[in-house]
Every structure is written in C-alpha cells, then in structure tokens.
Symmetry: C2
Amino acid sequence: MTQTMASTKSLESLIEERYSCRGFLPDGIDRTEIEKMIELAERAPSWKNAQSYKIVALTGEKKEALCRDLIERARSGAEPAAEIPYETGYPSSIRRRMMDLAVAFFAQLGIDRKDKEAREKQTLRNFNGFGAPVMLFAFIPAGLREWTILDLGVFFGHLTLVVRSHGYESILQAALAAWPDIVRKHTGVGAEYTLVVGMSIGKADPSEPANHFKSQRAPASEILQIL
Amino acid sequence: MTQTMASTKSLESLIEERYSCRGFLPDGIDRTEIEKMIELAERAPSWKNAQSYKIVALTGEKKEALCRDLIERARSGAEPAAEIPYETGYPSSIRRRMMDLAVAFFAQLGIDRKDKEAREKQTLRNFNGFGAPVMLFAFIPAGLREWTILDLGVFFGHLTLVVRSHGYESILQAALAAWPDIVRKHTGVGAEYTLVVGMSIGKADPSEPANHFKSQRAPASEILQIL
C-alpha cells in the first residue's frame, strides 16, 4: 500500500492532463487515502444537499473475485443488463464524435478496426478494471433517477480530479454496471439501491499504450452559445 | 467586464472553500473568459466522448428578460413543469439531510422556518439567479437520458471548480429548469433538446449572509463502504 501526498498542481493541469486510464500498476491504495479522497469529493454540491450516493469500494481478492465473474459473463456473450439501460438514439452529430474516438483510439493501440477479435480482447479488459487495485461501484436509492444521477455525476466530476491530485488515475466505466447481479453478489447491496456506474482507480502503468491516448474535444462553438 | 486570472489555489482549497453562491455582484464576465471556462470543463470524461451537452449562456438584458418571465411565473404560483421531473420518494435518511440543510440555511439567514412569506421571498431569488451576471442553461439531445445526464453532471463537477479557479462562484439550480417554455422562448432552443438544469455564475457578494453559509456533509461512513 502506498500513500501519496496531495499534489499542488493547478486545477488547469489536473483537468488538461487527465485521461481515461486503461492500464494500472498493481500497487494498492491505503484505506485511509480512499476515504480521504471520497470525503473531499463529497463536498460536491447536490440537490438540497441530499448526497444520495452509496459508494462501495472493492480491493484485493474481493475485487479479483468480482472481476472473474464479470469476465466470465462477458466471455459468454451475454447482453448487458444495466439497471440504467445503456442509451441509444444518439443524434448523428454525437455519433460522429463517438466514432472519431473509436477510430483514433484503436489506431493508437495499433488495432485494425476490422480485427474483431483484437477489439473484443481490448473491450474485455474493462471487466478487470484494466488491472486497477481499487474498483468503485456507485449506487443511488431505488426510486430516484435523473436528478440524483446528475448529482452523482457532479461527485464523479470532483472525484476524477481529486484522484489525480493524489497521484492516481481513474476511468469511469459504464461497463462495470453491465451485470448488476454479479455486482450485488459481491458487494451485498440489495434492491433498495440502483447500480449506476463503476470506476477503477490506481497508479497508471506508463508502459500501457492506451495511456498515451488523448481524446479530442468538440470546439466550444459546438457546445456553447452565448446570448 | 472583468477578466480574472486563473488562480493557483490547490484543488483541495477549491473544493473545500466552495459553496453554493446565493448573492452575486453585478460585474459581468468577459465572453472569452466564459468560453475559456467552458472549454476547460469540456475536458471532463463522457460516454465514448459523446460530450452530449448544449450550453446556452445568457447575459445582460437577455438574461434580465428571461428572469422577469421566470419571476412572474413563480409569483403566479404555477407548479414546476421541468422536463426532467423533480424527484420525490427520497428515503428517510436522505430526507433527513435535506431537512438539516433547510433548518441550518434559514437559521443562517435569520428566517423563521414558520415564516412562509420570508421563505418564499428567498426562494424567488432563485429565478433572478441571485443577481448573477451570467446564467447557463444545460440541454441534452431529446431521446437521451440518464447516462447523458451523468456526463452532464461530470461536466458541471468540473465547471464549478473551474469557475472558482477564475475567481468566480456558482450555483447549480434545478429551479432554472422549472418552466422550460420560458427558457425555450428566450434561448430559441427547440424540441430536439431536453432542458436539464441551470447554473448562475459571477463574483460573490461578500455582504450576502447566505454566502457565509457552509453546508455540512454526511460522514464518509454513511456514503462509503470499503470491502
């Protein structure tokens, strides 16, 4: 276990240098440091201060056992059964961004887009959290939905940066919510909560080619209009 | 118009000193600075890099005209008609947090919880963005929902901190989404987008008592479980 000092990097650097980490070193993170990072991210604003999120962190053998089940399920070709159904129906302008990302990402990894087997192998790595020592699962109370998910997003918007300021990297993974029955079995969380999303956290492996991939962003003119 | 230099404050300070600002000075924010802040927040991760948000910023007389309509509607006693319906059904543990916030907040303002008129007067200030010079409205493509709202939350989790690093404060306001017809009339955004939430941004008014209110957080043990 390592304990990393919070860095004094500027917010701008923390944001600009962030990437979705897809290869972690096995070095664990101290329990108290996990708590400290979550506590800081919890300062994020939420609807009437509801803070309606439940975060379960798995490490060590417990994380490995869960990942084994996820990988087995993924290998079986099972369809995702996320409690927050994966979205379709993206307008073409948005699909274009998703396609641009996929093309650039697989190019960075030297994977031919037509090489289905290589692509699937890369996708499978999601279910091992790309080797991260810590995996978080985020739940919200059953019966709540969009506004609570917005709050959860704000919390994760903080957490991704807090993690970086501690010298770690992360990746927010919809894939980890694909089979809630497995997550429930390994976390013990019951039907009073809805599983939303997962996140893997740890020290980045600099030898991982995917960690040198930096995704582009749409120009502000496509997102922002000032009246 | 002022242009503020990005500060070198640590992420920890930016998060810990943040509060929901409920009183702004009239000083405007330069267009290029609004763009710069949004561009940085846009570096937030999103589902397959979809960045499915549309942000419309209103300033000056356009903002004032919109606020006049919102205030008139609120005064008429109209029920909120948000496109993302306000949530109910919070479990009692969460309702307790919301109640604790309300009690502490009105105490800070010296408003008797039984003084309905004073509470309503305070609530009405939402629709003027508490005097902020810049008001943002966040939309997502129609047909998309929770995962896109999660992404939007992550974006706002970044933006609240970016705003602070530029010397401004903000408040994320569900109230600004209460009457989408008014927002659509003043922004010209059509039915191909769903209105989610609004945010007011500007320089904090230090003489505003609400700006000296700091909301509490649940202990990490209520949010986080490490297995």
